[in-house]
Symmetry: C2
Subunit: 362 residues, 2 copies
């Protein structure tokens, strides 16, 4: 989480607003609804890097031609437990939500299902989709590849995307799901850009310079380092390999290093990303109550572990559920720069801005 | 890889010898063959921590009663794509190999299959089983939980096992598979024990003392730290959570922190571990040749990446394939202490030792 100044609006008002902007750029209603749903969901859970602030990014992609405005998403069951989704170069959010629904249907029949999504574009936070499965009582594993910004272990230039892994398991009795959503690099590229803006050094062992030496200088950083740093980065790189394989060879796409860079202003060619999900019907593995008891036992035991002074042992997702409660009560914060940019787009497309219910520092 | 002095024997001779020792301890032929196969496979790939040196560990478990000598392993298809294996407290190696075969059969029919193994014991290196799937042309994801030796992020005492993740993808044209097999902690417990023996400090941010502070003193180390260390250990811990969930709630077992400690001399109660595999029939996702081309493209691109001076960018498994070639040519090295211990067991059970073809320093 980064700190920022801005405004707060009701989450549902933001979701409607983002939908209207995306439709304003010419996208189909279903495309717009999917991206607005994912961005609002991420922002409400304080995953601001993948939240509403990405709206202008998608608007640019739609108008420049990288993202198809009215894609024909094709969902095909290739075998009883394998779903392929052709995203038709449309917004990755639509293809991913469709894939999750088809994966749930296949998992309900067979116990487990894979969803391989090809010809897609950036889909925001992968956790939006595993969470959608968990909200329906299904566990899910999710991944996406991306263009190269993370170096291999002992390498000197970028080869992997940040290649996130997400995993969600439904809890019971009204408890929020267990939700992991992590890049396989230590930090995201946005952290480097932010540190350039603020002129502060990077943490150690998260980035290398142009000759492969670790650097804490955000201006010298030429590539990110896989999770594990100088000594154990081969593990983060190994996970990045797994994500890249499942999202390319299994989806029919090329691997991350062969994708064109998403940086820069040229957003005219399609991204051709792959996403990969595995959906688990937990009832196919263990009796419903026994499974629920195990999950609750685990979460209870983990959260009650003794912690370092001033800290608290948390389960994956716990910080997000705290943020969700706070933002549901007080509104979804939007940083000032994003708010300004969205205001410009609102003028262009003739969309009404959502009501501001507070100014805020997050 | 650790350095050691010892002897070298032919791999197949070692496998026969280990089989005879395990049978000598009263285990069934199929149990003995499975453990010998896994330990020899790991040793030949230089995964010595999980290789032949573990033989005495299993012999003790068999004679003390923790491991059932003649288990009735039950393999059940719970739904079209879900296999449950009840290991009946026998050697985890037997249950895991059986699970992989059943998982391959289910994946062949449905494209993907899950294998949840319960009531099991330590199964050696998880990579032995994903590799077995890859040798038959199937991709595989594998995990196992274990008793608590890794602290949660910001915690002060052990809660997770080293909870490894393995992933294998078959290559083509006679190339070795892509094979990842990594603990979700930075180092294994064995590294701490070794550093106590040698009196050398630990690397930074891999272990905590009894109050949760990072320590490099191997004698002060009370628990291991998840991959990612002080700043990013929540990611390694998140992966450990995923492994623990899939190996407990999905298999019917309790999570790692509720397992009795495997350390110490009391090996009379069953371990009750869980293992979890996902098997992928790659032909169900993409045409065979297209898939093979993607894998080769990826491996070729990755291995040709520019590296830091004196280093080489490698794919997961590459160091193991180099070791396999060397050990196939020169014999499987067994450290002197293990060799001595195996000699004692050979006398006890009346087993012939394998021929020594060289003395060695690895």
């Amino acid at each position: 989480m980064e700190e920022f100044n801005g405004v707060r609006c009701r989450g549902d008002a933001v979701e409607s607003f983002v939908t209207s902007l995306i439709v304003g750029a010419g996208a189909s209603e279903e495309s717009a609804a999917a991206v607005a749903r994912a961005l609002t969901d991420a922002s409400m859970r304080a995953v601001d890097t993948h939240g509403v602030r990405l709206t202008p990014h998608y608007l640019r992609g739609l108008t420049a031609g990288r993202i198809k405005k009215t894609p024909t998403v094709q969902v095909e069951r290739l075998s009883p437990s394998v779903v392929h989704v052709d995203a038709d170069d449309g917004l990755g959010h639509l293809a991913s939500y469709r894939g999750i629904e088809a994966g749930i249907a296949a998992a309900r029949e067979n116990g487990i299902a894979a969803v391989a999504i090809g010809r897609s574009t950036h889909h925001g936070a992968t956790g939006c989709y595993t969470l959608t499965a968990a909200r329906q009582g299904f566990a899910a594993l999710g991944m996406t590849n991306a263009d190269a910004i993370v170096a291999p272990h002992d390498g000197v230039k970028a080869f992997f995307g940040t290649n996130p892994i997400s995993f969600a398991v439904p809890a019971c009795g009204g408890q929020q799901p267990l939700l992991l959503d992590m890049a396989t690099s230590s930090i995201p590229l946005n952290r480097v850009l932010l540190r350039r803006d603020t002129g502060t050094p990077l943490p150690p062992e998260v980035a290398i310079d142009g000759v492969g030496e670790m650097t804490t200088d955000p201006f010298a950083a030429a590539a990110l380092v896989p999770l594990g740093g100088a000594n154990y980065g081969y593990k983060g790189a190994g996970l990045a390999v797994m994500v890249d394989m499942l999202c390319s060879a299994f989806t029919g796409m090329v691997h991350g290093a062969r994708l064109p860079s998403f940086a820069g202003d040229n957003v005219t060619w399609p991204a051709r990303l792959g996403h990969f999900f595995v959906i688990f019907d937990t009832n196919a593995f263990q009796p419903q109550q026994a499974f629920a008891n195990r999950v609750v036992e685990f979460l209870t035991d983990l959260r009650s572990q003794p912690a370092r002074p001033g800290e608290k042992v948390m389960a994956p997702g716990d910080p997000e559920w705290a943020a969700l409660a706070e933002r549901t009560a007080n509104g979804l914060p939007i940083d000032a720069a994003t708010w300004g940019s969205l205001g410009e787009y609102a003028k262009t497309y003739g969309c009404a801005m959502p009501d501001v219910i507070a100014t805020t520092t997050v």
